[in-house]
Symmetry: C2
Subunit: 190 residues, 2 copies
């Protein structure tokens, strides 16, 4: 599983064998069952997490107490990497496994050790962070100006493997529509 993480990182910059050994030594594995939380709103994000397999969602409670899904991540994503190095690391959203998940995690300290030991690490991580943030931004931002059917079609494009794996209620909430509207939209499309 660590190989998968190394392969992911290597897309963004080269690592020597020594460096890989160092990273592997710091890494630990984490499994989450469907429904479990990786991180909770109001708490501080304490570790870097790489999703090796499974699906998580980012969600929050709005002021009416509704639980709203803001985003999905599937395998090969660093979870909320940008949050770990902001001044305020308190989360406003939670991260929940919606299928069984396997992760590689690093404590914040180990991650910083790696950063100090490996020249170019920060630049690699910055590229990943930028890619993740702009991807989330593009996918969410364009939803605003679309009607419900187009939103759903975009969801299918953006997350082609997810549609049959997760409850429709999460998808509806991600799209900002009700579950019954989504159901009707699906009927019209198929």
């Amino acid at each position: 599983m660590i190989d998968q993480f190394i392969a992911y990182i290597s897309q963004f910059g080269n690592l020597t064998r020594q460096q890989i050994t160092l990273i592997a030594a710091k890494a630990s594995e984490l499994e989450l069952r469907k429904g479990e939380y990786y991180a909770e709103a109001g708490k501080v994000l304490k570790q870097v997490g790489f999703l090796a397999s499974g699906i998580v969602r980012i969600c929050y409670h709005d002021n009416k107490g509704e639980e709203i899904t803001r985003y999905f991540f599937n395998e090969n994503h660093l979870l909320f990497i940008w949050k770990l190095f902001e001044e305020d690391r308190t989360l406003s959203e939670c991260i929940q496994a919606i299928t069984d998940c396997k992760l590689i995690v690093f404590s914040r300290k180990d991650w910083m050790d790696i950063s100090n030991a490996i020249t170019g690490w920060d630049s690699i991580v910055q590229k990943i962070e930028r890619k993740n943030l702009t991807e989330v931004l593009d996918r969410r931002a364009t939803l605003v100006s679309e009607d419900a059917t187009t939103r759903y079609l975009k969801f299918l494009e953006n997350f082609p493997t997810l549609a049959n794996q997760i409850p429709l209620s999460y998808i509806a909430s991600y799209l900002g529509i009700t579950q019954s509207s989504l159901s009707r939209i699906r009927k019209n499309i198929c």
Copy 2:
């Protein structure tokens, strides 16, 4: 005007007098008239721009040819700083002045010279980039699940100084609603 830029940067990290002199030497000023474009979709972003005064909007054309406003920036923002260092610097959106604007600009090369000359520069810029991206993301992403009135109220919160300075058509497009809906919403609120 360069002082304003230095003050902005200094929020994110300290600079010596020497470093400030270097930055000032590389900076140049740019004025845009209302309606002029700072950058256009399909072209490559060639410079770093700091908006010292005025308002710009980010907009694009959807597949029906509609022009859609995706975001606004007012003074004290680095414009699309994250885009300048992606592999593909081709813009999918344009940046248009919607009031008269004053900017400080740096060519990509000068910016990289500064980066090489000033230790810690990259880390300062990274903080700014992260702050900008997460701010845009938070503001846009939450719109999806709100109704039109709530969207407009959030716009007023997020951009308190903008409401009376820019055409309602831009605001409506930013909110993903029609101009007539926005007009009715405004009537109900006031």
